[in-house]
Symmetry: C2
Subunit: 292 residues, 2 copies
């Protein structure tokens, strides 16, 4: 699929969707009653071919993409594996992914027991091996695209702007944000992007992944395994995230706010075509305080 | 142990510790080379009585507290269980916790396989049952304490202020922050607090837990299981976090910044002794952009 002529936001946040937020009453610092919009958080149990794999806490939109992307990013769905069906049951809060032939989940499950208890640890244990011999495409990234993406994404109506306390991850091409997923878990937002790419047969080689979250080893590994050569964030770095990005040749741009950014890996892909001084600082209305 | 007369910060962040951050070179938006301090992130594999339980990604300080707190918060260490030893091996990146008698980890491990893949999910699956019949102590919380804690914690030298991209959790009593733990994972910072409390025999009934992170179901459940009646954060809420806090009678205060805060559960414990208008807004030097 070519998105070159497609309009931006093939998938955009839908803050108006009633089932993703809830009105909650409380009090403010003056003791005055207030009515607050908070994001939902509900369990989704993912099955692969009748075997229960994981229960994730999610806002609940795009359960099919979340299931597909989670299984793909955990290495339980291999390249060329045919997905026969993805069935979501809202009442049971389950999604069942059916494939032809053998999957590798038996082997993966034995691993996960060792590494569960921490999202990073869990993913890490299953995914690190997939990085061996991985080479990412030699794309170029214009700094004008990064500035345009950052500005556009921050101004896009979202659950974050509506209710806060949520992470966002956006699949982008050049200066165009294409798929903007949000979730209570940073890893869920990325997995929903992976599930969308898998479902739509969209290639990673000319894409940029933008996240509101930190550039940890987990984020870097997921991005690399998805084959996306560039990962950008308004947040900071961890040392291991930087180390892995350099090992696999991923372009890692962080602290992208207003005219500022820092590149700690894959500098060679950057084409510095924008004058930073021509970029406006973020105004406070749109400045993300981030999800944490 | 009474901390009433003890000075604040029995345990404080040590941003000067060389092994918790690393200098990394990169470029800024002008293409100028820069030298950045980023937090470390390394695996720690936790064993219980010779059985490998989990590999967590951590900055690496207080591995013994992290191991004890993780096992306790996962219900693998029960009340009154005698810990015979906690041995950390820096080279192997392992910590072994030894107990007398039977532990419940066999049962817990079978659970965790179902819920791994997401920190919230993992913790949730193991911990939700522990909430049945739980009642938290009827403590009072002065709003003047909350303001004092927020101001003090934000100005405390920390890895966050040094390198960013890290979460903080602080065990407090009245207006005094006692134990300030930081980690790349929010759940690790809380587990290190739990491990410290377990090691030092410190009771939860008169404590307040402060976190830089969101008030998700995971944070609320951990705080309730630790027996701490009050959880405060500068960040926002999720709907399920609020719901569980109301079920167990936990006082939940969020969006605590400058003079502002929101209370969505356990309002009855609040003693509103402070005039919000007398509280200074946070100045930008100390305003946390948070870890995300």
């Amino acid at each position: 699929m070519s998105t070159r002529d497609a309009p931006s936001y093939i998938v955009a946040p839908d803050p108006g969707r009633g089932d993703l937020t809830r009105r909650v009453t409380g009090t403010d610092q003056e003791g005055k009653p207030l009515d607050l919009s908070v994001v939902e958080e509900r369990p989704l149990t993912i099955f692969l071919n009748g075997r229960e794999i994981v229960t994730a806490m999610t806002i609940g939109d795009y359960p099919e993409y979340l299931a597909l992307g989670f299984l793909r990013n955990q290495g339980m769905l291999r390249d060329g594996e045919t997905v026969r069906g993805v069935d979501f049951d809202e009442e049971l809060e389950t999604v069942v992914v059916r494939t032809d032939g053998e999957t590798s989940y038996e082997e993966k499950l034995s691993k996960k027991t060792r590494t569960s208890g921490c999202a990073v640890g869990t993913v890490f244990g299953d995914m690190m091996e997939g990085l061996e011999g991985l080479t990412l495409p030699a794309a170029t990234v214009r700094t004008s695209w990064l500035y345009a993406l950052s500005s556009r994404i921050n101004r896009t109506p979202s659950l974050y702007l509506e209710a806060g306390a949520i992470h966002g991850t956006v699949l982008c091409q050049e200066d165009r944000p294409l798929v903007y997923m949000e979730d209570v878990g940073r890893h869920n937002a990325v997995d929903k992007i992976a599930g969308w790419m898998l479902s739509e047969g969209v290639g990673p080689e000319d894409k940029i992944l933008y996240t509101t979250g930190r550039l940890t080893s987990e984020m870097v590994i997921k991005t690399a395994l998805m084959g996306i050569p560039v990962l950008a964030s308004r947040s900071g770095f961890t040392a291991w995230g930087v180390e892995i990005a350099r090992q696999v040749g991923l372009t890692l741009v962080g602290r992208l706010k207003g005219k500022r950014f820092v590149c700690l890996a894959g500098e060679d892909r950057l084409v510095r075509d924008a004058d930073p001084d021509s970029v406006a600082d973020e105004d406070s209305r749109h400045r993300r305080k981030s999800a944490v």
